[in-house]
Every structure is written in C-alpha cells, then in structure tokens.
C-alpha cells in the first residue's frame, strides 16, 4: 500500500504488518487483528446470527489467517483477504449447524413475534434488533452478500473476492435479498434515530 509512509501516518500499513508477521514479528498479527476486529466480528455475527457461533467462526478464521498469512499474495487488500476468511469460516459453521436439526423452523414465528410485539408492527422497537431478525430470514449466501455490500460498504468487486464468487452473483444475491427483506423492513424506513438516520426515500409515494 502506498500510504504507509505518508506524512502524519507513522503506523505501518496492513500489508506491512502482515509481512512482518510472516517474517516472525510476534506483535504484528495481533495489531492487524485489533485494527479490524469490530468489522470482522460484525461480518461473522451477522452471517451466522448467533454470538457463540460467531465467536467460534471468528476464532477458526483468525487461527487460519495467522497460519496461512504466507499464502497472501497481495492480489487484494489485506482487509478483503481477512473478510474472506471470516466469511468462509462463518458459512462453514452454518453448514455444520444445518447438519444438526434445531434452528430455522421456529425462526419465522420468533421473527413475527418480534416485529409485531405490542400488536403494532409499525412501531419500531429497536432497528438493530429488527434488522438482525430480518437477516435471519435470508439463505446464508444471500445474507453474507448483503452484509458485505450493504452493511459493511464493500464494492461489488471486493465483495466477489470475499464471497468467492463472481460480481454478477454478488449483485444477484444482494438484489434478491433486498427484495426479500423489503416487507420486513419497510416499516422501519423513516423511523430511525437521529444519529443513525439515512436519507428518506425520495419520490412519488402515492
């Protein structure tokens, strides 16, 4: 990364930290992880929808990244590479969980109960809670795509690397996921807290 030695930027770049880690620096990987851990946690948590499983997935991913750092070829940004490993570990966890019966059947009802509590679906209780519940409705590949693109702000090209698929598939998964979430999230639009508000939908509402 060309920005490593810019004025006022004494800290090393991600790529430099990874290089130092590979060279034997015992601190470098931990520093790299701390830089990105909240976003890595977010992608794991939102993809697997369960804090315990997310922590396990993230642990699998970080151990893997720690050991396989030498394989990083610099073809993408280090963050993209880290996110890819976390998404893979998260989807692996979900596949393993899917092999065990337990979740999913009751999810829809739990979700309905959540959004319609107090008998008033238009009254938003907690946007974040509702969004998390709605994300659970999606098939994992769509969910991972939507989390990476819409929630974490990665571009389609990087998202394709992270998800190990083509840009067209990323777009398609995101589009289907948005359409699927629409009925569950429409009531939240225009009903957000000040600091987290987004532009209200423009246009010709009839």
């Amino acid at each position: 990364m060309p920005d490593a030695s810019g004025p006022g930027r004494p800290e090393p770049s991600d790529a430099e930290l990874l290089r130092r880690h590979v060279a034997g620096d015992t601190e470098a990987f931990g520093e790299l992880f701390r830089r990105h851990r909240d976003r890595l946690w977010a992608v794991a948590l939102r993809t697997v929808c369960d804090p315990e499983e997310a922590a396990d997935a993230l642990q699998d991913a970080m151990v893997s990244a720690f050991r396989r750092a030498g394989d990083f070829r610099g073809e993408s940004a280090v963050t993209t590479w880290l996110h890819r490993i976390v998404v893979n570990a998260s989807l692996d966890r979900l596949r393993r969980r899917a092999a065990r019966p337990a979740l999913s059947a009751g999810d829809e009802q739990a979700f309905e109960a959540l959004v319609t509590q107090d008998g008033d679906p238009t009254r938003s209780t907690d946007t974040r809670l509702d969004v998390n519940a709605a994300l659970r409705m999606l098939p994992p590949p769509q969910r991972a795509a939507l989390v990476v693109v819409d929630m974490l702000g990665f571009g389609v090209a990087d998202a394709a690397i992270i998800l190990g698929t083509s840009p067209g598939t990323v777009k398609s998964r995101c589009a289907r996921a948005r359409a699927r979430l629409l009925p569950y999230l429409a009531h939240l639009q225009g009903n957000r807290s000040a600091s987290e508000s987004v532009q209200p939908a423009q246009g010709n509402d009839s």
């Binding site: 060279a23 990987f29 851990r37 909240d38 946690w41 151990v63 819409d150 995101c174 209200p200």
Partner: protein
C-alpha cells in the same frame, strides 16, 4: 405492462436487467408511481442496512481471541525478525519506547498487546467520561495507569465469564477495576468513538491544502454540535475504518475541500492527531485522500 415485482425491480436496480427488457422497465417506471415507490423502498432497505452501526466486539470475545492468538504465537517456530526490522517496529510506535521494558525472546502476545493499546485506552476513558468534544479539546489530558483491560468493561457472556476473567488477571497483571453489574448482569461500556459509531457533523469550512493544519485546529476548537448530525453511509463508515484502522476518532465532519464536498476525519494517533480529507471515492478499499496533516 404489469406492475413490477420487488425481485425484478431489485435486479433491475442492480444493473442485472439490460437490453430490451431493461428499456421496457425504464419506460414503465417513468409512468408508474407505484413501481417507482417500490424502487425507492428497495433503496431504503440498503440505506437502512447501512445505517446500522457495526457492533463492537464483546470484550470476552476479544480476550478469548487474544488468548488464542497468543497461544498461536507461542507455538510458532522461533524465527527472529532481523535487527533492522525490530528497530523499525519500535520506531513505528512513538511514545512506546519509554514504556518498553525488557524484551523476551518470545514475548507473549497479551503482554505486548496491553502495552500497544495503552494510549488508546486513555482516550477511551476520556471519551467515556466527558463526551467527545471535551475529550478532544487541545491540551485535554487524561492520565491513567490502567491498561486496556481496565477501561474496557466486560460484556455479558455468562457462559465464558469465569475462565476468561481468570486469564485476564493472570498474564496482563494490570489493575482491573471491579465491574459494576447492571440490572441484567451487563456492564455499561464507555463510549469509544470509532468508525463503528461516530457521528458525522456538518461544517461550513472549505478546507484548502495550504491552510489545512490551521483550519483543522480551528474546527476542532469549536464544539461539535450534536444537532447537526448528518446521515452516515456504509461507504463512509468503511472509509473511516480504512483511514483510522480502529484508532479513536476525534471528529468526522462533512465539509468542503477546494470547494468540493469532502469529509474531514481526525483520529488520535499516539500523542498527535492525524487529519485526513477524504474524497467521495474513499471506501473500504480505496483511500481517496485529498490531503492529510498532523495536528499537534
């Protein structure tokens, strides 16, 4: 043409439907308020998702991962970094040299992490106690001898608590304040301003490269007005994360640079603050920085 269903419209908006079919959808939208509104709602889904803040990693998870990575580091074959590399590693952390004691051949990850994190922890405490604008005022100093563990409160995860708590006391050997339990067994977390939770404030300043340092200082001297909070896109959050890499944020302002819309990002970087002027293309992977400066 019949009304569009949400999936078709979403695919169209994603650029997946082109050619004659795309043209017919464009034509339909031009005359159909209902489908136009549906399209707006789809845009609203993305905007809503972007508005959800990135959750901070719970402390217990962070501690667990630190421990796991420390074990990885400890079990690694010894492979000493070159002296030149070690020297540069030290030079990269101004302010740390004084507190760096003896260096063991294979120092534990946790010991080092506690030291590296110390300045951040100080800012954490400041932000939690006084709010952002107070914490960042020029000359505001909050001293603390506590390491990172003391300033980070323990999140709820009762299952893992006992073992993690024990390991936090042992290797860190830093004073850990007794957690104050809330009604639900959780502890209020001091608000640390990062890319995950910052508020974007509006500024009328039109920054220029030649006067950037002075202008940033002037802006920071003014308290940020909470009422002027602006919407934050996922791209901007990702951009701020990309620039600051987890450092504590001082201020994020929607402003202008050379007359064009730009974002001022100021983060605490050791003893000094670093200011960036981010352009519109700045994102998770693109560091579109129009100008940068250090603020003493």
């Amino acid at each position: 043409m019949a009304h569009l269903d949400a999936e078709v419209l979403a695919e169209f908006r994603a650029g997946l439907i082109t050619g004659r079919r795309g043209a017919s959808i464009t034509a339909h939208l031009a005359g159909c308020d209902r489908c136009t509104a549906l399209g707006d709602q789809l845009a609203g889904v993305s905007a809503l998702l972007a508005s959800v803040p990135v959750p901070a990693m719970p402390d217990l998870v962070a501690q667990r991962l630190d421990t796991v990575l420390a074990a990885e580091a400890a079990s690694r074959p010894v492979r000493a970094a070159s002296p030149e590399q070690a020297e540069r590693a030290r030079a990269d952390r101004p302010g740390q040299r004084a507190t760096r004691h003896r260096r063991t051949p294979r120092p534990s990850f946790r010991l080092l992490s506690a030291r590296v994190l110390a300045p951040v922890a100080v800012v954490l405490l400041a932000a939690g106690g006084y709010g952002l604008s107070r914490a960042i005022g020029p000359g505001s100093q909050v001293t603390s001898s506590a390491g990172s563990a003391a300033s980070r409160s323990v999140a709820s995860a009762p299952k893992a608590a006992p073992s993690i708590a024990a390991s936090a006391h042992g290797p860190l050997n830093t004073p850990v304040s007794p957690p104050v339990r809330g009604a639900q067994g959780t502890v209020p977390r001091p608000q640390r301003i990062t890319a995950a939770n910052f508020t974007l404030v509006a500024s009328a300043t039109n920054f220029a490269a030649a006067t950037l340092g002075q202008q940033v200082e002037t802006d920071l001297g003014r308290p940020a007005s909470a009422e002027a909070a602006q919407p934050v896109t996922a791209q901007l959050r990702a951009c701020v994360q990309n620039l600051t890499r987890g450092a504590a944020l001082v201020r994020v302002e929607s402003a202008r640079f050379a007359g064009q819309p730009a974002t001022l990002v100021v983060a605490r970087n050791g003893s000094a603050d670093t200011a960036w002027i981010a352009g519109p293309d700045c994102s998770a992977t693109s560091r579109d920085v129009l100008a940068t400066t250090s603020v003493p």
